[in-house]
């Protein structure tokens, strides 16, 4: 092909990251955020170009491929490429980061470091979604870990260090497992190339040869745990509430909107297609884990008094749909799982921004101390209600499509367990409506009537929230638009998995 579009796409934010460091100290705050915004905008433009380049690609497989030898000794290649699944997630990444960049406008503490880290993070995330060499994938995975760690650890709330360490070590533990599995595959088959490995699976009915089912299951578990930590699935989820509570608003947006999706992406790209038989064998286990994530996290959310922690647990609950849908091995389940990633990827940043708006004004997030904000800040109230209803799965908004398709898919494979999972719908409605009432309805305490300290959403905040709301609405009414980006490739992956897993 000769196109370097993908390289360019992840180099833009990295270049921006360096550029921020060159900004003279005196004008740091202003200049840095502009550099960040323009870089994010350019990155968004680049992902649009990737989308267009990909859609011109015919003949299936990966588009815009760049493949060159890199570390010959270990047969590591610089191998990039995108299919529909990656394109959808790349668009999500750059879109949410654009919002995050705007939400970072009022970062006061060492802006140079912050914006540089922010862009480094963006570059890492973009890289993850287009790496086709597992080593490269791992590298990008670790690259984005570092800035995230600093962004929480330096710019976070009072317990930021604890949260950052926890995030770091937890993800690292997962990375180690993933790395072990990657190395094992490399030792056995001598390649890090994802397409090559999938072809091997197809040709031989599985990796590691005959009779190595135990090893395959072990490797699948290693991948699954690594990605389940990121998703996060019960019982690997406890880093998330802490990370969210401490992270600054824009970082929470990116954490929930994009980082969690890397877990689901890893499952789709590697865990499932590499080890179809193991995935099928462990299907029930995965469904049970998903089910616990959905219902358990919803109940835990109900008991929270910190607004942000509540939204964090709701993320755990919603991301349970991703693993539930994948485990079903049905077209509805897989498409729904991916749709949940996109829907949650836009709704949860919106909710974190909504929490951020009020936190910035009130300097607390205690649900029991709020009240009547819908009357004090009317536009804010409308947007908050929109976000809350989107998250609780109201039809005509994207979350509904995701939930219902996952349910319809997983019911075909696991009817009884799926019925239990539907209980999550009621618990979710309960905790969100309680929150809506506590924070936005009822009598407005006198403090919040003070217009000077509690102005309605600013134009910048609207600029963050409204595009997310529009996408949520669009994805809820005409879901085929977003789904058609990834459907073909995702169903291709699923076909491959089912072709192998179907064999006894």
């Amino acid at each position: 092909m000769g196109s370097n579009l993908l390289t360019l796409t992840f180099l833009i934010p990295l270049a921006g990251s360096l550029l921020v460091l060159l900004v003279p100290k005196e004008s740091a705050g202003r200049a840095c955020r502009w550099v960040n915004l323009l870089t994010s905008l350019a990155t968004f433009g680049a992902t649009l170009a990737v989308w267009s380049g990909w859609s011109k690609h015919t003949g299936g497989g990966y588009a815009l491929v760049e493949d060159a030898a890199w570390i010959k000794a270990f047969s590591i290649r610089y191998h990039l490429g995108v299919d529909g699944v990656s394109v959808a997630l790349l668009l999500l990444t750059s879109f949410v980061s654009l919002g995050g960049s705007l939400a970072s406008w009022n970062i006061e503490k060492s802006p140079k470091g912050y914006h540089s880290m922010f862009l480094l993070l963006l570059g890492g995330m973009i890289g993850v979604f287009m790496a086709l060499d597992m080593f490269l994938f791992y590298l990008f995975w670790e690259i984005m870990l570092l800035p995230m760690y600093f962004l929480i650890g330096i710019w976070g709330g009072p317990r930021r260090q604890y949260a950052a360490i926890k995030f770091f070590l937890y993800t690292l533990a997962g990375s180690v497992l993933m790395l072990a599995a990657i190395v094992l595959i490399w030792i056995k088959h001598g390649t890090f190339q994802i397409p090559e490995i999938v072809a091997l699976v197809k040709a031989h009915g599985g990796l590691f040869g005959e009779g190595a089912e135990g090893l395959r299951i072990a490797c699948f578990i290693a991948f699954f745990v690594a990605f389940a930590i990121k998703v996060p699935s019960f019982p690997f989820h406890t880093w998330l509430p802490d990370a969210h509570v401490e992270a600054p608003t824009p970082i929470s947006m990116i954490l929930a909107g994009v980082l969690l999706k890397m877990g689901g992406y890893g499952l789709i790209r590697m865990a499932y297609p590499f080890f179809p038989t193991a995935a099928a064998t462990l299907g029930t286990t995965i469904v049970v884990i998903s089910l616990i994530s959905i219902v358990y996290a919803a109940f835990v959310a109900m008991a929270q008094t910190d607004f942000k922690k509540l939204v964090a647990y709701s993320s755990v609950s919603h991301m349970g749909f991703v693993t539930l849908g994948l485990a079903s091995l049905t077209p509805e389940g897989h498409n729904g799982a991916m749709y949940m990633m996109l829907a949650h990827g836009t709704i949860s940043p919106m909710l974190f921004m909504i929490v951020g708006v009020i936190y910035e004004r009130a300097h607390h997030r205690d649900l029991d101390r709020f009240g009547g904000l819908a009357w004090a800040m009317p536009t804010y109230g409308v947007l908050a209600a929109f976000g809350i209803f989107a998250s609780l799965g109201l039809p005509a908004l994207s979350g509904f499509i995701a939930e219902i398709t996952v349910f319809l898919g997983s019911f075909q494979s696991f009817p009884r367990l799926t019925l239990v999972a539907t209980v999550g719908m009621v618990v979710t409605a309960a905790y969100y409506l309680i929150t809506l009432q506590k924070v936005y309805l009822g009598d407005t305490p006198a403090v919040y009537r003070d217009k000077a300290h509690y102005p309605d959403v600013s134009r910048r905040e609207l600029l963050v929230l409204v595009p997310l709301a529009i996408v949520t609405l669009w994805m809820g009414i005409l879901p085929d638009g977003a789904m058609s980006i990834y459907r073909g490739d995702l169903e291709g992956i699923l076909e491959g998995v089912k072709a192998i897993a179907g064999k006894p």
Binding site: S110, F168, H237, M425, A429
Partner: protein, 650 residues
């Protein structure tokens, strides 16, 4: 027809968008705009009705463009579209007409409310959602409309949620109906797993040809019933509807009497081919129990709207009884007549409440007929209609048809219905007597009472007329609209639509008149002291009725409290158990690394400091990063990475 159907639903949707965007700035805050759009929707509904009477239907399988591909999965395509048959046409007419009248009524009733414009915007959104529900040609889109009417109901019950009570009532309504929705989701999943389609015709074909086995049909239909029980406030999910009276009265009339709560009946009626004999028996039982239970509770309520609310629950129970007894036509017929006379009485109560400065306690009313002749007279028509006053009122015909169906099924079911009918007539006359007859009980309230303005009385008159004429077969309402649909959805031979049994009719007349006369004697002709003396032996019963049989307390103890406790316990377990384990592992690892990796830490530390400094040039956070604990953590992390890299290189 397709264009008309689209006008029906898009006119109020456009109204919602315009009203939300500009309503506040328009003259009269845009009420005229929304009245115009809902009027257009009504006009289009009438045109559709005329076409259906002329023998046309809109069958999406035939008409090009009535359906489009919404989503696809593998080889399965989810197609969605609109469908108009006799049942749809009747529902459209009823919904748009009542919605139109409620809009007009509200323009006077809600005058002066600070959120006047918003009220109309949400009325428009409600109308849109309800029409989506009715026009859908498949269960999935019906479910979408179903959820959206729930949202609008939430918003409108909680319209005055600056106060706590409306907010609580709105939440209770949403969550209770969502519990019911689990049944809908289950039904969707069951049917879809086997047929890979949501279209009504595909589902029904599968049910009749047997590709949906009868066990699946039973479970799916019970799921639908459960959803309907939530939406239509049937026992044991009825608890939200009385609380929903916290909403403005026009909302109670439109959503919580005439349209949304009847959606459950519509759902069962629409999906009738899925119902097996076993599930129909459950439908009948739920309906019968609800009709009697709500009737008993209504006896002991003193808030005018609460009486009407329980009466709605009871009447909806009647409809379910009819559906369960295979009297499909009768049940849907009762849905339409009930929509008219119950909307009439709710708006009438609104007129009274408006006149009495938001007094809702009937014990402080009385003698209002003189002061409010139009309201009083139309209300009386409504009372006669709901009591089933023979031969004149619409309610008589529809109720009689249900009782006839029940009799045919099993006389015991008919006796349950007759019992409920006596209760209905009795408590409705009690309401009427306490409000409009006798001496005024509160001079202050009476003093201020006045007849309401024309925008409020006119809808009452229209609905009053309809409460009478809707019982006749005008323009082929039954023979051309409901009966053909009934024949289509119910298997041949099992329908007994209009079959009047003389025994039942006589019993129905006696029941209605007995209730009315008893009410008249007791509440209009007997002194209050004497009534109190008569009631004394039944004090315990009355308390039970007044307390609504304690369902709220029961649910609080059995559902809400355990749910909150579970949430607390799980939250604690999450922090102490799951997270505690994680922290424990972390601590162990840290002490291990402290013991063995002192030298490494030194080396690695330098590296970390170097990277940190490079990246954080200009960042002030570095000094904070160097606190000991943090350093140990980073060291531990980097040690792991280093180890892995070492392993890798072998």
């Amino acid at each position: 027809m397709l264009t008309l159907a689209l006008v029906v639903v898009l006119a109020p949707f456009g109204g919602f968008l315009l009203q939300s965007a500009f309503g506040r700035r328009l003259p009269r805050q845009g009420d005229w705009l929304t009245i115009a759009t809902i009027g257009a929707s009504f006009a289009a509904s009438c045109a559709l009705l005329a076409k259906v009477l002329g023998g046309e239907t809109l069958d999406p399988a035939v008409v090009a463009g009535a359906r489009f591909d919404w989503l696809r999965f593998g080889d399965v395509v989810w197609r969605v579209g609109v469908k108009v048959d006799g049942l749809t046409a009747v529902m459209l007419f009823v919904v748009t007409l009542v919605a139109f009248l409620v809009h007009v009524f509200s323009s006077a009733y809600m005058k002066g409310d600070p959120k006047y414009w918003k009220f109309f915007a949400w009325l428009q959104m409600f109308s849109t959602s309800m029409l989506v529900l009715v026009l859908a040609d498949n269960l999935l889109v019906l479910f979408i409309g179903w959820e959206l009417v729930g949202l609008c109901s939430y918003k409108l019950i909680g319209f005055w949620s600056e106060k706590a009570a409306p907010g609580n009532a709105a939440r209770k309504a949403f969550i209770t109906t969502r519990i019911g929705d689990l049944g809908m989701v289950a039904a969707l999943m069951l049917v879809y797993a086997q047929t890979k389609s949501f279209a009504f015709e595909d589902m029904f074909r599968a049910a009749t040809t047997g590709s949906l086995d009868s066990q699946t049909c039973t479970w799916a239909s019970l799921g639908l019933l459960f959803a309907a029980m939530g939406k239509s406030a049937q026992f044991p999910l009825h608890v939200w509807l009385p609380d929903a009276m916290e909403g403005p009265t026009p909302v109670s009339a439109l959503i919580h009497a005439a349209t949304m709560v009847a959606a459950g009946v519509y759902l069962v009626g629409r999906c009738y081919p899925l119902f097996t004999d076993a599930s129909l028996l459950v439908v009948a039982a739920v309906g019968g129990v609800t009709a009697v239970m709500a009737g008993l509770i209504a006896l002991a309520q003193d808030d005018i709207k609460k009486v009407l609310a329980y009466s709605t629950v009871s009447q909806l129970g009647f409809m379910f009884l009819g559906l369960g007894c295979k009297a499909w036509h009768a049940a849907l017929f009762h849905l339409t007549t009930h929509a008219f006379f119950k909307a009439l009485m709710f708006l009438g109560s609104g007129s009274v409440i408006h006149a009495c400065h938001h007094e809702q306690d009937m014990r402080r009313m009385g003698g209002l007929w003189r002061k409010m002749p139009i309201t009083g007279t139309t209300f009386f028509v409504g009372v006669l209609a709901i009591a089933g006053f023979p031969f004149v009122t619409a309610g008589f015909y529809s109720k009689d048809a249900i009782l006839a169906g029940a009799w045919h099924m099993h006389p015991a079911l008919a006796w349950v219905g007759l019992g409920a009918a006596v209760l209905t007539a009795f408590y409705m006359f009690r309401l009427f007597a306490m409000t409009f007859l006798g001496k005024p009980k509160d001079e202050h309230v009476f003093e201020h009472a006045h007849e309401s303005p024309l925008p409020m009385t006119l809808p009452l008159v229209v609905l009053g007329v309809l409460s009478v004429v809707a019982g006749w077969d005008l323009v082929g309402w039954h023979t051309k609209l409901l009966e053909p649909t009934a024949a289509a959805v119910t298997s041949a031979g099992s329908v007994h639509g209009h079959e009047h049994s003389e025994v039942v009719m006589t019993l129905a007349i006696v029941a209605g008149l007995f209730g009315l006369v008893a009410g008249f004697v007791l509440f209009a002709k007997t002194s209050p002291a004497r009534v109190a003396a008569l009631k004394r032996p039944f004090a315990a019963l009355e308390r039970a009725f007044a307390r609504k049989f304690g369902f709220d307390e029961l649910y609080r103890e059995l559902v809400l409290r355990p749910a909150y406790t579970l949430a607390k316990i799980l939250s604690w377990a999450d922090a102490e158990g799951v997270d505690g384990a994680v922290n424990g592992i972390g601590r162990t690892a840290r002490s291990a690394s402290r013991g063995s990796g002192w030298a490494d830490a030194k080396v690695v530390d330098g590296a970390v400091r170097g990277t940190g400094a490079a990246v954080l040039a200009g960042g002030g956070g570095l000094s904070r990063l160097q606190s000991g604990r943090f350093r140990t953590y980073v060291a531990a992390g980097v040690v792991v990475v280093a180890t892995v890299l070492v392993v890798l290189s072998f």
